[in-house]
Amino acid sequence: MLWDYLQNGLVNGSTITIMALGFALVYNTFRVFHIAYAGLFTLAAYTFLFLTANFHLSVAVAMILSIIPVALLSWLIDFVVYNPVSRKGNDPNLLMIASVGVFIVITNLLGLVFGNQPRIIPESLRTSWMDIRLMIFFIQTLLIIVFAIFLKSTVTGLMLRAVRDEPRLSMNLGIPAARMRSLVFILSGTLVAVAGSLQCLDVGVNPYSGLPLFISAFIAMVIGGVGRYEGAVLGGFLLGLIQSFTEYFTGSQWVVVITFVVLLVFLFIRPEGIIPEKQRGV
C-alpha cells in the first residue's frame, strides 16, 4: 500500500521535474514567467491523444510526433510575444500578463476543438510489456539525465549557461544570442511535449489539466532553488513524494493545500531554496 504511494510519488515527481526543467530553462535564462507553458503541456497531451486515437499510431511514434507542434508553438510564442515585448524594456510583470493571455487562448482553443470532457487514449494502446507507470518513470528519468549531460558537457549547453549568467558579455564573446533564444524555447517545448504526452497516456487529458502540474513545477523550482537546474530536479522529486504521501495520510482533497503550505514555508523561511544559487566572487 505504502509502496504504491512511493511509486506514485516517484512517477509524479519525474513529471513535475521535467516540467520544472523546461520552465526553469526559460525562467532562468530570460526571466519570463512563462504561464503559457501550462497550455503547451495540454497541447502536447491533445496532440498525443489525436495521433493515437485517430491515426492509431503507436505510443512511441505519437510521442515523438507530438514534440513538433509543441516546440514550434513554444518558439512562436517567444517570437511573436515575449521577444518584442521584452526588447522594449518593459516591466517583466507585463510579460506575465501577456503569457496569461496566451495561456487562455491555447486552453480555450483546445476546449473548442476537443470539448471540455476528460478524454483518454484507446485502451488497446495502454497494454505494453511493462507497467505503464514504470515505463513513464524510466523515460522521464532518462530524459532528465540526457538533459543534464547536455547542459554540463556539450558546447551548446555551456553557451546556454553563459547566456543565462552573463547575457551581454556572452553576446560580446560571439555567442549567437538570437539562436540561443530560439533553442531555449524549442528545448523547453520538447521537454513539456514529452511530459504532456506521457501524462495523457497515463491518466488522459482535459483542457485544464496543464495548470495544476505547471503550478507544482513552479513550486518545485522555487523550493529546489531558482537558478540551479539541480534544484529543479531535487524539488520536483521531493514535491512529487510530498504530494503522494499527503494523499496517503489525509486524502487527495488536501494535496493542493499542503503543496502551497510547503511553498509558503519555503518562501518565508528559505526563499533561496534548498540549493541556493552560487554567489559569484567580485
Binding site: 510575444v81 506575465m96 496569461v100 493571455g101 487562455i104 513550486i219 502551497f260 526563499p271
Partner: protein
C-alpha cells in the same frame, strides 16, 4: 427586458467594486495579486454567516464583512509584502488556492461543493427589507458610487501620492524616512476590505454562493479587468470591468452556440491581453 437590464447593471457594479478595490494595489502600486477572488470568496461566506446566522442588517453586516476581510488581508500582508516580484505573485496564488480548497473541502462549515443557499436580502434597517430588482439596483448603485468616490479621493490624496512615489523609487522614499512596507500593507488591507463590499452585494443578490465563483479563474478575470483599462486612471479600470461583464452578453446576442460561447469569450479576452501588452505597453510602463 427591464429585469435583464437591472440584472446586468447589478452584476456590472459588483465587478466595478472588485476592480476599483484592486486598482490601487495592482495598477498604481504594481503589486500583482492573483488572490483577489479569495477575498471575494471569504467575504461572500462571511456574508452568508452574518446574514443567516446572526441576522445582521445592512450596515452592521457590511462592517463585519469588511472587518473580517481586512484582518485576513493584514495577517497575509505582513509576511507576503516582504516578497518581491514573482514571489509576491506566487504567494498570492498560494493564498488563492488554499482559500478555494478550504471553501470547497471544509464541508462542515462551508457546505463544500453544495454551496450555501438561502442568503436573505439585505435589511436596511431592522424590518425594512430591500425587495425586488429596482430597489436592489438602487442600493447597489448608491454603494458603488460611494466606494468609487472613496477610491478616487484616496488615489489623489496624500496617501495615493506616497503609493505612486514609492512605486517609482522605493529607495528614495526609504531615504526620506518613509515606512514603505507599512504603506504596502495598508493598500493590501484596504483592497481586501472593500472587496468585502462586493462580496456582500453579490451574496445577498444571488442568495446562493458556490466555491466555483471564487476560483483562480475569477482572480485572473479581476486582474484582466484591472489591466485592460490600461492606465493609472480609475475610469480605465471601470471600463475594464464593463468589458469583462458585457462581452459575454454581446456574444449571447451574436447567437454563438451556448457550449462555444464561454470559450469564444475567453479567447477574445486572451487575444485582447496579448495585443494590449504588445501594442500599448507604453501606457502600462511605470513612468
Amino acid at each position: 427586458m427591464m429585469a435583464y437590464a437591472f440584472h446586468i447593471g447589478i452584476v456590472l457594479m459588483v465587478y466595478i467594486i472588485l476592480v476599483v478595490s484592486s486598482h490601487l494595489l495592482i495598477n498604481v502600486s504594481r503589486l500583482i495579486s492573483l488572490g483577489q477572488a479569495a477575498f471575494f470568496g471569504i467575504g461572500a461566506y462571511i456574508t452568508a454567516l452574518v446574514a443567516m446566522g446572526l441576522g445582521l442588517s445592512l450596515i452592521p453586516a457590511l462592517l463585519a464583512v469588511m472587518l473580517v476581510n481586512a484582518s485576513v488581508a493584514a495577517m497575509l500582508a505582513w509576511p507576503v509584502m516582504k516578497l518581491k516580484g514573482d514571489y509576491f505573485i506566487l504567494a498570492t496564488l498560494a493564498f488563492q488556492f488554499i482559500v478555494f480548497s478550504i471553501l470547497y473541502n471544509w464541508t462542515a462549515v462551508t457546505g463544500g461543493s453544495l454551496g450555501v443557499s438561502g442568503i436573505p436580502a439585505p435589511e436596511i434597517l431592522p424590518g425594512v427589507v430591500v425587495s425586488g430588482l429596482p430597489a436592489f439596483f438602487a442600493m447597489t448603485l448608491i454603494i458603488t458610487v460611494i466606494v468609487a468616490f472613496l477610491f478616487y479621493k484616496l488615489q489623489y490624496s496624500y496617501f495615493g501620492l506616497l503609493v505612486k512615489a514609492q512605486r517609482d523609487s522605493e529607495p528614495a522614499m526609504k531615504a526620506a524616512g518613509r515606512d514603505t512596507q507599512s504603506t504596502r500593507v495598508y493598500i493590501f488591507v484596504i483592497s481586501g476590505a472593500f472587496i468585502g463590499v462586493a462580496s456582500y452585494l453579490y451574496a445577498t443578490y444571488m442568495s446562493y454562493i458556490h466555491p466555483a465563483g471564487f476560483n483562480l479563474e475569477a482572480s485572473i478575470f479581476i486582474l484582466l479587468a484591472v489591466f485592460v483599462g490600461g492606465t493609472e486612471k480609475l475610469r480605465g479600470a471601470v471600463m475594464g470591468a464593463a468589458l469583462i461583464v458585457l462581452l459575454p452578453e454581446f456574444l449571447r446576442f451574436a447567437r454563438i452556440p451556448e457550449h462555444m460561447a464561454g470559450h469564444v469569450n475567453q479567447i477574445i479576452f486572451g487575444l485582447a491581453l496579448i495585443v494590449l501588452v504588445i501594442f500599448k505597453s507604453k501606457s502600462l510602463k511605470p513612468k
